[in-house]
Amino acid sequence: MNNSTGFIDKPIPARAGIGLRSPHYQAILTSLPDIAWLEVHSENYFHTGSNAKRILTDIRNHYPISLHGVGLSLGSTDPLDITHLKKLKNLISDIAPALVSEHLAWISVDQRYFNDLLPLPYTEEALQHLVGRINTVQDYLQRPILIENISSYLQYKHSTIPEWEFLTAVAAQSGCQLLLDINNIYVNSCNHQFDPFVYLSNIPQATIAEIHLAGFSRQSVNAQEILIDTHDQPIAAAVWELYQHAITRYGNKPTLIEWDSNIPSLQTLLNEAGKANHIMEQNHVCIA
């Protein structure tokens, strides 16, 4: 069992964690399961007086926490939302998370929010725009952030840079680290027909601070099968295989099991985390 208040300001270990979702609040607080760390969506805890915030503050005494943002719209050409940034900074101050992350995406333009992570064209212009925004955010928060690759269902004609090069350049030029979502790489590799192992071989090990794993669903569009990043089912065998390759290549990394829809029992999430831990333990044995 974890020690109360023992995890504040401690780094997240290279073990598996799970996404903390409201159906499991009580079970986690009551049973304090053996899980290395927890991740939450930052925006769900912006309201200072909310029940969710109170519960997170409590849970935070027992587990290292990662804050994963979905609403900053880093890639948007609208001005950065300073109110949103202030709320994030306040949350960071209250929770003292070990990691803070956001997405390589835009979700709003012209003051309209789409509740979806939309892809950027991979151009030099978009790269400079994103690097400038990440620098502003990191300066404001006074800490480096992690940027996550997203799943996508289109490719822009304007793109001139492969996604892995774009992502690597973002990290190199802004000093941010990467949150590598293995499921998103797999989904994109099927949707856009590239080799996911080539993607992994082009990401420098030192830039990766966290890995995400999740389940996808299959959808038929005009008789074509498209993979959709739905986070509503177990991690696919092909994604586990890619994860194993990533761990062999990069070494063990903090790995999150993400499940956001049709949320299963806590035990199911812990079992998925157990699989990730097993792969990392096997890797450790191989290295030793």
Partner: protein, 80 residues
């Protein structure tokens, strides 16, 4: 206007009014408009879930089918 802003504004317009994005989206196994429809579906699904969570009594009163129809029109009119 920057090329990036131009793409984002065109994307917004296309999500709302189904305008043609074939000058911006590369056709692969799917056409530009089919790609766009995936995003439209994702956004509708997400916002519909939010409305279901916010207005569970209305959904019970009018039924799942009509509520989904109502959401579709409401989201199109108010959100995009």
């Amino acid at each position: 206007m920057s090329a990036l802003r131009d793409i984002q504004l065109k994307f917004k317009q296309a999500l709302n009014a189904d305008t043609d994005m074939s000058d911006y989206i590369a056709a692969g196994s799917l056409t530009a408009n089919e790609c766009l429809q995936i995003y439209q579906n994702n956004i509708f699904t997400c916002l519909t879930k939010s409305l279901q969570i916010t207005y569970p009594c209305i959904e019970k009163l009018v039924g799942q089918h009509f509520f989904a129809y109502l959401c579709q029109h409401y989201i199109k009119k108010i959100s995009l």
